[in-house]
Amino acid sequence: MKSIFRIICLILLIIVLTHSAIAEEVYLETKRGAIQKIPIAVVITGDDQELKSAVRKVLVNDLERSLYFDLIANDSLRLKGVPEKLDEAMRGQLISSGVEALVVGQVVRDGEKIRLDGKLYETGSGELIYAKKYIGNNNILRRIVHRLSDEIVFRMSGEKGIAQTRIVYVSDQAGRKELYIMDYDGYSSKMITGNRSINISPEWSPDGSRITYMSYRDGNPDVYVVDLNTSRRWRLTDYSGLDISPAWSPDGNTIAFSTGRDGNAEIYTMDREGKGLKRVTYIRGEDVSPTWSPTGAEIAFTSDKGGSPQIYEMKSDGTNVRRLTFKGDYNSDPAWSPKGDRIAFACRSGGSFRICIINPDGSDLREITNGPGSDESPSWSPDGKWITFASSRGGKWNIYMINADGSRLERLTNNGSNNLSPDWSPN
């Protein structure tokens, strides 16, 4: 019998015996829809040229990735210090070049410390609309700039920014499959497991304080949790077979996962301490990879109940199972968008996988990546604008991010190892 379970075992084996194939790297660039962006200029002042350029680079990238701004070049703008209000001459100059908002950052190195004085002005009135001084050690410079960026995004759009978000992923850079966390732009990566075993399918808790994952740490594939604040880690399941693909409910109180304890893989739920085990699916076929809708009322998952792996939806109590995907003979790894309006998944197309997006009512199916290589394990940014995924397009497996409309592909990992299974943190 065709079995997703066997395929998963095979994938695990492939993960263990990771391969490398050379493939040409292709970046996508398509035109975005006509969303009105705010023309913004960024000026970084200070005496330390290297520091200035580092701050500028991080901030400009962050603001661009927020997709709220058009960065306007402002080479001719000269500023002394950080004024409380923009003078008429400066305002005139900015308005004539179409700038609606100006960010000024004064950065100073003070021994081991960095001081960043960030200000945001509205050019129409010349008023200062946000000001904050940041102080921190040199090694958290990027983090400080990300904070400033998120503040600017929030002041200008009312939405929470994603510059301080992080991505957990699996990498074999230390030999075995261990979990790592990096900033959303691919920097500041650090290992969070170190058990020299296989650790896969990590997922953030909705409050960002914990990560659940599947590990062979104690010899058997079970679901584990690590608390990022205390570094404490513990096992949630202890069934002697396979317990895989854990997923947190939006309220953080329940974890859905797939288990082989009934012969074939079925979806169960348990509380965050591994108690209160409840069987959710009673389906002839393998049911894996649950993902919750943001309301917690629905779960989407992969099942081969119809002969080939497809995406299904059901109420999170297991009732009213409906098939969502009808195109293609292999669709898996669903990820519900944070606003609930889209579901991303891996769709097989001509032998390799692509990232597809569909509405929860089955309409508007789109393939947003086009190879080469295979694209798998999609996960949404908390603002719902980006998707991170693992791709073999560069030969090795690496983590990428792409705009949900298929534009702005960016590679995030570049460590010469295989990097898989990314999951984007909440903001």
Binding site: M1, K2, R279, T281, Y282, I283, R284, G285, S293, P294, T295, A297, E298, D304, K305, G306, G307, S308, Q310, K315, D317, G318, T319, N320, V321, R323, F326, K339, G340, D341, N359, P360, D361, G362, S363
Partner: protein, 285 residues
């Protein structure tokens, strides 16, 4: 045109559903048969071991040899039949696995056909609505009134939707986003516009789900009951019965809850909902 298209589809789908049911019953028969063979095998094994245990220490060499010969004979006979039973069991298990795969493939075809039919019927709803609108405008013209264009629906829930399927989809989106009040209004608007529409049972079912998600279990039970009364042939009926059970359980009316869980188990024994209902029946005091 669409109706003409629908009837062959309906026939094909019915055949597949019926053959699916046939396969399912054959599948169950096979499962029973395999279990029966397992029992026979176990019995045979138990008999052999009992015979061996009951073997007394020989008092006389001649008798002992005779007994041994007899046992050896019986043993070889039993071994032969056990071998045969094991082979039969393996054959049955192979066929069982094959049938399970066949059932899944048929299940897939049923899902795909149902989906195609749903797409077609959704279009036909929109066409019906468009025809109604055109004839209304024609009537107006014949009566000498100026042609006033009005949208097919004037929704407050599901704003800016203009065809029944758009209204339905917008309401479904509202449900998914947790905008339950908007979704309820939108689905009721759909039902007002297309009371006999093909998505009407689903719309009513989702209204029940919205009330349930809002924690208004009393209303959800009433709406789910309407689904079972008004649309007894809908594929949502099993879930509706089960959700009535859940609703009554939330309302602390365990007797009614049990009644509906039993209904699901008895009327739809092979559904996933029946398995969920069985769990509730075991847990409810």
């Amino acid at each position: 045109m669409i109706k003409r298209l629908l009837s062959p589809l309906l026939i094909v789908s019915t055949i597949i559903t019926i053959s699916g049911c046939a396969m399912q019953s054959e599948f169950v028969d096979l499962e029973n048969e395999v279990n029966r063979m397992k029992v026979i095998l176990l019995q045979a094994q138990r008999e052999v071991s009992e015979l061996q245990k009951s073997q007394q220490p020989p008092q006389d060499d001649h008798i002992a040899v005779e007994i041994k010969e007899q046992f050896a004979k019986m043993d070889s006979q039993n071994t032969g039949s056990i071998d045969m039973l094991q082979k039969n069991q393996a054959d049955f298990e192979n066929r069982f696995t094959q049938l399970a795969t066949d059932v899944q493939v048929i299940q897939g075809s049923v899902e795909e056909n149902t989906h195609r039919m749903a797409e077609l019927t959704e279009n036909s709803d929109d066409h019906d609505a468009a025809i109604q609108e055109m004839s209304r405008r024609l009537d107006n013209l014949e009566a000498g009134q100026p042609p006033v264009h009005s949208p097919v629906v004037t929704p407050s829930g599901g704003a800016a939707a203009s065809t029944p399927s758009e209204l339905y989809n917008q309401s479904y989106k509202d449900y998914m986003s947790g905008n339950y009040d908007l979704a309820i209004e939108g689905f009721y608007n759909y039902l007002r516009q297309s009371p006999t529409g093909n998505l009407a049972p689903n719309a009513l079912y989702w209204i029940g789900e919205c009330y349930y998600s809002k924690g208004d279990y009393s209303k959800s039970v009433t709406v789910f009951e309407s689904v079972t009364i008004d649309y007894p042939k809908s594929d949502k009926i099993v879930s509706a019965f089960l959700k009535m059970g859940y609703g009554y359980e939330k309302l602390k009316n365990n007797d009614m809850a049990k009644l509906y869980f039993k209904k699901v188990v008895e009327q739809f024994p092979y559904s996933p909902e029946a398995s969920l209902a069985k769990v509730r029946l075991t847990d409810i005091k």
